[in-house]
Each structure stands twice: as structure tokens, then as C-alpha cells.
């Protein structure tokens, strides 16, 4: 050993310290960046003392996978919940003021009052007015449900666009990482970028990753479809122009394979896309079916029947009618009937109709008139309506609610179905959000920056720097002493 090698070692130490200080200051400056992983300068020993060999980036694949999983599940559940919240909003607040159930209740009460005073033409008018409110309410609700589907469809398009853009950026980041790894450079910044993109991608679609040789990452969807392998696979989606009860939305294709929708209120959706698909293709259409069934049941309940001794004429729409203008036969849902559901113009005073026809019948001709003498206090038909609203009738079992119940209970059941799903989705969303939060927290604790630790390391580096500097000056003095002897 010679003084020169001691000087070399001290110099190396100085250079190490400056590299380490650089790392510390980078760590501190990124302390509040959630996508930043802590760096560490790994030292190795050689003949000249310690030398910085590599910059290590803190990683924990298991926790990172948890984070990604948590993000997907929370984001899918959140998409479903906000869809359900929007649908619930259609039916009013805590009292469900604008729900068919509430408006039908009001109509029933008015009809009941009208039945006790059938001669009052103001009551005839207010009954028809209530019926108009109900019809408009059902129509509006149907339109609003389809609007929810359209908005969701547009949101899917936006998310697919964003996903494709993220995948393109992922390709760049991944290429940088693999190239950097081959060249043996510091790829930490690129890996941060890549992880950050992966987190964003996992919010849109559930993914799993495989890291291959050369630090190359391939992404697969939760269903196993390839999303990224060296190059991004195309995610395609054709948005629909408009929605109606009979219009099906288009599927999202990942590399040509259709993406499945989430199932259940405690949704299986991984990522917002599946949650949105579930709202568009499952929840909103179910509510539409309920509205269609309510509309159909009301047309049937208020239909006019042939009053002749031997009835030969078919039933005709009475108080309520629709674009088809017939009374639908059988307990089968008529898709989209709610969209054209309306009060018969023959009863609306503003359209030249006569509201008193509600009491007697006969909108469709004299054969349907139950009160041919025009007796003012004829209440049998009105009372029959009030009773019929409460009488069980047949509903399409395909609608998922009770197949035999009264129309007013069916309307209430429909709300029950919606609220059951919303309630479950809400509690599932809370627990998934909590899971995501904990996963992110655990990952951040493991890979994030602690300023305290960096500061204490800085103190250590300061000491080491001072010691090295002192060493150099001592060696300098020793060399000086040596030189003076020689001189």
C-alpha cells in the first residue's frame, strides 16, 4: 500500500458521497410524487475502496400487483355505483317523488276521490291531469334511462381512447427501459413512468403483467387477452349514435376479443370499462324493462272492454295509450312501450278531449260505454280502476321482478330492485376503495421516500465527506513532510 492508493481511496469516497448526495436530493425532491420509487446507490468494494456500482430502485412486485388489482376493482365498482346513482336520480330524492310508484299512487288517490263524487267535472279534469303527469313521468324516465346509456356509451369511447393513448405511451416507456437495461444505464425514471402508466391503465381495464428478460413487460387483461406485448394491441370500440329500448350497445374489442361486462351489484368488473358496460348493457336496460312493464300494465288496467251483452269487439286502450294504439296481449314485455306511453287525446281537454269519458268509457265508440244513460254519479267503472290498480296481474318473468303482483306494487318493487343494487354497490365501493387505499399506502410505505431517513443519510454522507476530505488533507501533509525531507 502506498499513500497514493490511500489518496485514491479517499478520492473515490468523495466521488461516492457526491453521487449518493445526488440520489438523496433526488429522493427528497420527489418525496410527494406518488409515482416515484425511492432510489438507493448501491456500493461495492474494489481495490480502491468502495465504488458505486448501481442505482437501485425500490420495488415490491407483490404489493404493486395488489395496488393494481385494488385500483381496477375500485374503479369498476365506482363506475357501476355512479351509473346507479344517476339512474336513481331519475326517480327523485328520498321520497321518490318522480317515480312511477309515487305518481301512480297520486293518480289512484285522485281516482278514488273522483269515484266518490263522479259528477264533479273538476275531479275528472284533475284525474286526467294526474294521469298526464304519470304518463309524462314514465316517458321522461324512459328517455332519461336511454340518456344514461348514451352518456355511458360516450364515456366508454373516451376511456377507450385514453386507454389506447396510455398503451402507446407505455410502449415508449417500455422500449426506453429495455434499451436502457441492455446498455446497463439507469432506467429508474423510465420504470417510474412505466409503473405510473400501468396504474392508470389498471383504472380503465383489469390487467396482469409478466416481466420477461431484459426488463420487458407484457400486459394481459384479467380475461387473459393480450393487451401489450412488445407493441400495444388495438382496443376498438364503435360508439352508438343514439339509444332506444331495442338498441344494443356495441362491444369493446381488445385485440379482437370482446370485453365482458361486470356481473352483480358487488361487481366483478375490473376497471371502469367493465363497470360502464355493466351500466349500459345490464342495469339501465333492466330499469327500461321495468318501465315498459309498468306502461304495458297501465294500458291493460285502464283498457276499455266491449260492454255489449255478448262482447265481440277487442279491448281498446282507454285512459292510457301508446304509439302501437292497441292493448298488448299476454304478460310479455313490449320493448320501448314506455317511450311512447301517453294519455289518450280523447280525454285531454287541451286537445279537444272530454275528461268525463274516463267515468263512462266509450272513447272507442258507443259499444264501450259502460254508462249509456249518462248517469252523473256512475262510479262503478272508476271504482273498478281504483281496485284494479291494487289487483295482482301478470308480468313478464323476464323482467326479473315478481311475475304476479299489482301494478303499483310492481312499480315499488322496481325501486326496491334498483335500491338493492345501489345499496350493495355502495357498500362494495366503500370496501374496495378502502382496500385500494390500504394497498397504495402499503406500497408507498415500502417504496416511497421518507424525508427523515434521507436527512439522516445526508448527515452520514456529510460525516463521510468530511472524513474523506480530512483524509486527503492528512495525506497531503504526509506527502508534504516526505517532500520536505527529500528537498
Amino acid at each position: 500500500m502506498s499513500l497514493t492508493s490511500a489518496l485514491n481511496a479517499a478520492q473515490t469516497s468523495l466521488s461516492n458521497t457526491s453521487t449518493q448526495t445526488n440520489i438523496v436530493s433526488r429522493n427528497i425532491s420527489n418525496a410527494s410524487d406518488p409515482d416515484y420509487n425511492r432510489r438507493n446507490a448501491a456500493l461495492a468494494t474494489n481495490v480502491y475502496g468502495a465504488q458505486v456500482v448501481s442505482i437501485e430502485r425500490a420495488q415490491d412486485q407483490a404489493l404493486f400487483r395488489q395496488t393494481i388489482k385494488g385500483t381496477s376493482a375500485a374503479s369498476g365498482q365506482q363506475a357501476l355505483l355512479s351509473g346507479l346513482e344517476t339512474i336513481k336520480g331519475i326517480f327523485g330524492g328520498n321520497d321518490y317523488e318522480t317515480s312511477p310508484a309515487a305518481m301512480l299512487g297520486t293518480l289512484r288517490d285522485t281516482l278514488s276521490t273522483f269515484a266518490s263524487q263522479p259528477g264533479e267535472s273538476t275531479l275528472a279534469r284533475s284525474s286526467v291531469a294526474d294521469a298526464q303527469t304519470l304518463a309524462a313521468g314514465i316517458r321522461d324516465a324512459s328517455a332519461a334511462v336511454q340518456k344514461v346509456r348514451l352518456d355511458t356509451d360516450n364515456e366508454i369511447e373516451r376511456q377507450v381512447g385514453k386507454l389506447n393513448e396510455l398503451l402507446a405511451r407505455f410502449e415508449t416507456a417500455n422500449n426506453n427501459v429495455t434499451r436502457g437495461t441492455q446498455l446497463g444505464g439507469d432506467v429508474s425514471a423510465d420504470m417510474d413512468e412505466r409503473d405510473s402508466l400501468l396504474k392508470q391503465i389498471s383504472g380503465i381495464i383489469g390487467v396482469s403483467t409478466i416481466t420477461r428478460t431484459g426488463n420487458d413487460v407484457a400486459i394481459y387483461t384479467s380475461d387473459g387477452t393480450t393487451l401489450f406485448e412488445s407493441v400495444p394491441r388495438p382496443v376498438t370500440f364503435t360508439p352508438s349514435v343514439g339509444f332506444a329500448a331495442t338498441v344494443q350497445g356495441n362491444a369493446v374489442f381488445v385485440d379482437g376479443v370482446p370485453l365482458g361486462a361486470g356481473v352483480g351489484a358487488n361487481s366483478t368488473a375490473k376497471g371502469s370499462l367493465q363497470g360502464l358496460l355493466q351500466v349500459r348493457d345490464e342495469m339501465a336496460p333492466a330499469v327500461q324493462t321495468h318501465l315498459d312493464e309498468i306502461a304495458r300494465a297501465l294500458i291493460v288496467t285502464f283498457a276499455e272492454t266491449d260492454q255489449s251483452a255478448v262482447p265481440t269487439l277487442p279491448d281498446q286502450p282507454g285512459l292510457f295509450t301508446w304509439a302501437g294504439g292497441t292493448v298488448p296481449a299476454g304478460a310479455t314485455v313490449v320493448p320501448g312501450i314506455a317511450a311512447s306511453f301517453a294519455v289518450n287525446a280523447a280525454l285531454i281537454p287541451a286537445q279537444g278531449g272530454n275528461p268525463e269519458l274516463l267515468r263512462d268509457g266509450g272513447i272507442n265508440g258507443a259499444a264501450y260505454n259502460a254508462n249509456p244513460t249518462g248517469a252523473a254519479s256512475f262510479s262503478a267503472r272508476l271504482d273498478a280502476f281504483v281496485v284494479a290498480i291494487d289487483t295482482p296481474m301478470g308480468f313478464d318473468p323476464a323482467s326479473g321482478l315478481s311475475p304476479s303482483t299489482s301494478v303499483i306494487d310492481y312499480a315499488a318493487d322496481s325501486l326496491g330492485w334498483l335500491e338493492l343494487n345501489r345499496s350493495e354497490a355502495s357498500s362494495a365501493s366503500e370496501s374496495r376503495e378502502a382496500f385500494r387505499f390500504r394497498a397504495v399506502e402499503a406500497y408507498s410505505n415500502d417504496t416511497g421516500v421518507s424525508i427523515d431517513e434521507e436527512m439522516s443519510m445526508l448527515l452520514e454522507l456529510e460525516q463521510s465527506y468530511t472524513a474523506s476530505a480530512r483524509l486527503i488533507s492528512v495525506i497531503d501533509q504526509m506527502l508534504e513532510a516526505l517532500m520536505s525531507t527529500v528537498r
Binding site: 266518490s116 263522479p118 259528477g119 248517469a375 262510479s379 303499483i408 322496481s414 326496491g416 345499496s423 421516500v449
Partner: protein, 350 residues
């Protein structure tokens, strides 16, 4: 070497979720403490929301029926008053006929005629009583005045009687030829000619425009009562028949035997009128009783429903306010802790 297992980011975020949750819950609990109901019924009840909605509708329906029952009670009560007046005038007419029995002199007969006419007018007026624009005794035909007036000029029933008499005997009842009518002839006329015009369908043409169908009202779910009666009842027909005999036949220039026989029939019909009208009163009384029982039942049902709805939708406001207080303390602790943790840094000691 990594020695710590906490990152600054995680530390700063740690309290965030607690605070956000706490604030959200405070807002909801405040609402609950004030309204006494769940802040979001759908989330709280889930599928049970449907029964909450149904119960609310049922409650509204019962209140509506209660309101319309008040109307029914009013109609029934007024009908009772009118029927009482009719019954009283039938009784007076009966007494008039009994007093007039055997009277043949003109002044007594004219007093009798005046009394019978007064009774008939009272009867007609009572029969044409209306409430809220509905004629009470018209059956369901409630927008038409049910009883024709006999004593006004151009009266339909008067003309019909005159025609019937003339058609049978060949001369008017005021004609002196009436003195030739025998007791048997008069009896035959009353029983076989006059009575059928009152008891048969002619009644509906000449006297009454009422419908035979009575107004019915639903006074409770599943209970419908007749909430009115009509002027086609046996009692009302008999009243009119007795009055017509009294006013037309007893004052006709007939022999005293014939008059006595006619008076006997008038007494008989007046008796039938009293019984018939009292019968109607008791029928309406039954309806009145059912309405008041239905009201009692409805009111107790409403109370039970309200309790039930409160069980489902309600929250304990005391519990809610207690929870608000403890949550406020919790959130304040979070704030204090967050602030202190933020201050906790090695930097302060270097």
C-alpha cells in the same frame, strides 16, 4: 440501507381518508338528526325500499278514503234528515186521512185537501234535496231533479192522472157524472188502473227521474256501501199514490160510500208510505254505521302504518346526534394529529 417503513406520502395521506369519511358521515347524520329519517333511504334499506314506498302509498290512500268518507257521511246524514221530513209528512197525511174519514161537507174536504197538498209539497221538496250539486234521491242519476212537482201548473204527473181517470171512466174526476161511480168501480179503478201507474214503469215517466241504481262508495279497501237511496222506493210511490187519491178522488163529487172506500185505501197507502220510508232510513242507518266503523278502522290502521313506516325509515335522532358529537371529536383529533405529524420532521432539529 432502508431502515424505515413509512413514507412521507403515506404519512400525509394517512389521515385523509379518516377525515373525508368522517366529514361525509357528519353531513349525513346531521340530516338524520334533523329529519328523523335515514339520510339516504335507498342505501340504508336496499330491497326493503319497495315496502317503504308501498306503505307510504297505502297511507296516502287511507287518508284519501278517510276524506271521501267524510263526504259519504255528510251525504248519508243529509239523506237521513230529508227522509225524516218525508216520514213526518207521511205521518201527518195519514192522520189527515183518519180525521177526514166520514167527512162529506165541502169545508172539511177542502181542509183535508190543503193538508194533503202541504204534505205532498214537503215530501217533494225533501225528495229534491241536493248537496254539493248532487240530488240525494236520484240514485246515480244525481244531476237530474228526481221528483216532479204535482201542484205546479202543467205538471206531468197531474196530467197523467187526469188522462188515466178520463181514459177509464170517460169523464173527468171533477165531472158531476162521478156521482154515478159505484164502490166496486172505484175499488177496481184504484187497484187495477191507478196503482199500476204508480208501482209500474209509468212512475219513472210521470213522477221520478231517479235511477234505480243507488250511489255506492268505497269506504275502506274491500268495503263498498250504498251511500244514497232513490225516489223509486215503495214508500215514496205509496206516498204519492195516497196523496193523489186524497187530492183528486176524495174531493171529487162522488157518493159518500165511494169516498169512504177511497179514504180507506188512502189510509192504507199512507201507512205503507210511513213504513217504506222508515225502511229506507234504517237501510241508510246501516250504511252510516258501517262508515263510522270503517273510519275507526282506518284511523287505527293509519296509526299502525305510521308506526311501521317510522320503524322502517326512521332513525333515532338522539343516537344520530350522539354519533355526530363523537364523530366531531374524532375528526378534530384527526386534524390535530395531522397538524402535529406535519410538524414532526428531522429538519426541525438539524
Amino acid at each position: 440501507m432502508k431502515t424505515s417503513f413509512i413514507s412521507n406520502l403515506a404519512m400525509n395521506n394517512a389521515m385523509r381518508m379518516t377525515i373525508a369519511r368522517g366529514q361525509l358521515e357528519i353531513q349525513q347524520l346531521q340530516k338524520e338528526a334533523v329529519t328523523g329519517r335515514h339520510a339516504d333511504i335507498g342505501i340504508a334499506l336496499g330491497a326493503q325500499t319497495s315496502s317503504s314506498v308501498s306503505l307510504g302509498r297505502d297511507l296516502a290512500r287511507m287518508n284519501t278514503i278517510l276524506d271521501s268518507n267524510a263526504l259519504v257521511s255528510q251525504r248519508l246524514g243529509t239523506s237521513q234528515l230529508a227522509l225524516e221530513a218525508m216520514s213526518n209528512s207521511a205521518q201527518q197525511m195519514l192522520e189527515t186521512f183518519i180525521v177526514a174519514n166520514g167527512a162529506n161537507d165541502a169545508p172539511k174536504l177542502s181542509v183535508m185537501q190543503r193538508d194533503v197538498q202541504a204534505a205532498l209539497e214537503t215530501f217533494t221538496a225533501a225528495g229534491n234535496t241536493s248537496v254539493n250539486g248532487e240530488y240525494l234521491f236520484a240514485g246515480i242519476n244525481s244531476d237530474v231533479k228526481p221528483l216532479e212537482e204535482y201542484t205546479v201548473a202543467g205538471s206531468t204527473p197531474k196530467a197523467a192522472f187526469d188522462a188515466t181517470f178520463l181514459g177509464h171512466f170517460g169523464f173527468a174526476q171533477t165531472d158531476p157524472a162521478a156521482a154515478g161511480i159505484t164502490v166496486a168501480q172505484m175499488d177496481n179503478f184504484i187497484t187495477n188502473v191507478l196503482e199500476p201507474t204508480f208501482m209500474g214503469t209509468d212512475w219513472n215517466t210521470n213522477w221520478s227521474s231517479a235511477s234505480d241504481t243507488n250511489i255506492t262508495s268505497r269506504i275502506r279497501n274491500g268495503e263498498v256501501v250504498e251511500s244514497g237511496t232513490n225516489s223509486n222506493s215503495l214508500g215514496m210511490r205509496s206516498f204519492a199514490l195516497a196523496a193523489v187519491i186524497g187530492m183528486e178522488l176524495l174531493t171529487a163529487p162522488v157518493t159518500s160510500e165511494v169516498r169512504e172506500a177511497a179514504n180507506a185505501r188512502a189510509i192504507e197507502y199512507s201507512g205503507q208510505a210511513v213504513t217504506g220510508i222508515d225502511n229506507q232510513r234504517s237501510l241508510l242507518g246501516v250504511s252510516e254505521n258501517r262508515v263510522s266503523k270503517a273510519d275507526v278502522a282506518l284511523e287505527s290502521q293509519i296509526k299502525i302504518l305510521k308506526l311501521h313506516i317510522n320503524d322502517i325509515e326512521g332513525v333515532d335522532p338522539y343516537e344520530a346526534s350522539t354519533r355526530v358529537n363523537s364523530l366531531l371529536a374524532q375528526v378534530e383529533t384527526s386534524y390535530a394529529l395531522t397538524a402535529r405529524i406535519q410538524r414532526l420532521s428531522l429538519m426541525n432539529y438539524l
